[in-house]
């Protein structure tokens, strides 16, 4: 049957290709413009954004400032670093996000030598905590950049935000989206939030499964069971992790062997000089051959 060509040549001629990162679906430019735009009368003062991104098995928290040549990362913390502080499992939950945010915050403050001045909230209650500026230096200010996630109440991104706030960073926020905020009473229930920070919701699920479906408990929480983590000692585990993070937030360089050279299957692109040189050689050989031929003819 004859099907009319939908995407004609005219369609392609008029098609405007979106920005690369929009094509990849990774950057929201509307938000990015508003986050990175610095007041012109502040000239080159960097405007830092606290970037939190989730992958399926990892959390990335970074402090980034924008630049024409490319954004510069000031400090970064991944949840796959948490095993160093004693947390091996549940690396993408609310509690792990809190730990990652806390790790990043302490790391940045240590980098800028502000970590003694700004201790932040050492004991994690779930209450809304904002840093008080001391007399000597103003606190480190960053703006939360969530990326493309849907900002619903209780999203793990806000767990990371809470971690950074408790670390002592100044991030403008409201408590509306923290876990435990109830829409009806328009208030944050600090107890519930604290429960989430210490993995209480995970512990509750563990208890429910142990009661009702022990086989599912065995399969779902197998890694927890392997490490002897039970519903009752989850909170103390996270307390230890927080303390370890505050004790030594410095980044550790990982020793990796240099990547091995792979065999090249396609031709390497020549530089301009190499191409010109090749052309000159070809002309020389052609002239030499032509010279020989014309001599023979004559």
């Amino acid at each position: 049957a004859f099907v009319k060509a939908q995407k004609t040549k005219a369609y392609f001629k008029r098609f405007q290709v979106p920005f690369k990162r929009r094509r990849e679906g990774k950057t929201d430019y509307r938000a990015r413009i508003r986050l990175t735009n610095q007041d012109k009368n502040k000239y080159n003062t960097p405007k830092y954004r606290f970037v939190v991104r989730f992958s399926n098995k990892d959390i990335t928290a970074q402090i980034i400032s924008a630049n024409i040549t490319g954004d510069m990362v000031l400090a970064t913390a991944y949840s796959h670093e948490l095993p160093r502080y004693g947390l091996d499992v549940g690396l993408t939950n609310y509690a792990a996000a809190y730990c990652t945010g806390l790790l990043l915050g302490r790391r940045v403050l240590k980098l800028l030598e502000m970590d003694d001045e700004y201790q932040g909230n050492v004991e994690a209650t779930g209450e809304d905590f904002s840093v008080e500026p001391t007399d000597t230096r103003r606190p480190f200010r960053a703006l939360l950049d969530v990326g493309l996630i849907r900002t619903t109440t209780g999203n793990n991104v806000f767990g990371a935000l809470k971690g950074a706030l408790d670390a002592g960073l100044d991030i403008p926020h409201s408590d509306k989206r923290f876990a435990g905020f109830s829409k009806d009473s328009k208030q944050l229930d600090a107890e519930v939030h604290r429960n989430y920070i210490y993995g209480g919701h995970v512990a509750a699920y563990m208890r429910i499964l142990m009661e009702d479906e022990p086989e599912k408990y065995q399969s779902h929480f197998s890694e927890y069971i392997k490490r002897g983590i039970e519903a009752d000692n989850i909170e103390s585990l996270y307390k230890k992790v927080h303390a370890a993070i505050r004790a030594d937030p410095s980044a550790k360089k990982s020793e990796k062997a240099p990547p091995k050279q792979h065999k090249r299957f396609n031709l390497k692109k020549l530089t301009y000089e190499e191409r010109k040189a090749k052309l000159i050689d070809r002309l020389h050989t052609l002239n030499a051959a032509a010279g020989v031929d014309s001599e023979d003819e004559d």
């Binding site: 008029r14 098609f15 405007q16 290709v17 979106p18 920005f19 430019y29 509307r30 990015r32 413009i33 990175t36 735009n37 610095q38 007041d39 012109k40 009368n41 000239y43 080159n44 924008a66 630049n67 024409i68």
Partner: protein
Amino acid sequence: MPAGHGLRSRTRDLFARPFRKKGYIPLSTYLRTYKIGDYVDVKVNGAVHKGMPHKFYHGRTGRVWNVTKRAIGVEVNKQVGNRIIRKRIHVRVEHVKPSRCAEEFKLRKVKNDQLKAEAKAKGEVISTKRQPEGPRPGFMVDGATLETVTPIPYDVVNDLKGGY
């Protein structure tokens, strides 16, 4: 109905975005910094409606005299009647580009300073003034053969072949 001379009259094409360049504008326009005394080109970006200059200033180059939160104050020359007035306008950064008119001068300044420093070290006296291009030097012509051309005598019969 008469034509109307509103603020944006006759700017249908002037303020239009170029073909296939509509939508969000690249971030580098927002990330540039401008200092007082820099030269900037005013080029209106039709996608941003705030802080647009009047169409007269589109394509003009001026100096920065003020920097505010989101806009730049630019001093542009405008001919009004028999004189040129220095007009001060405020324009949002989306409608402004850093001008390259002074770029060659800045580079030459740096190079001249370097040349002068080198000459001073060697003890010579050099002039870094630019010279205009002079007349071309003389040259010998190689491989020229002489071909003498003379007129042929007029042949009445043959040349009047067509119309007679």
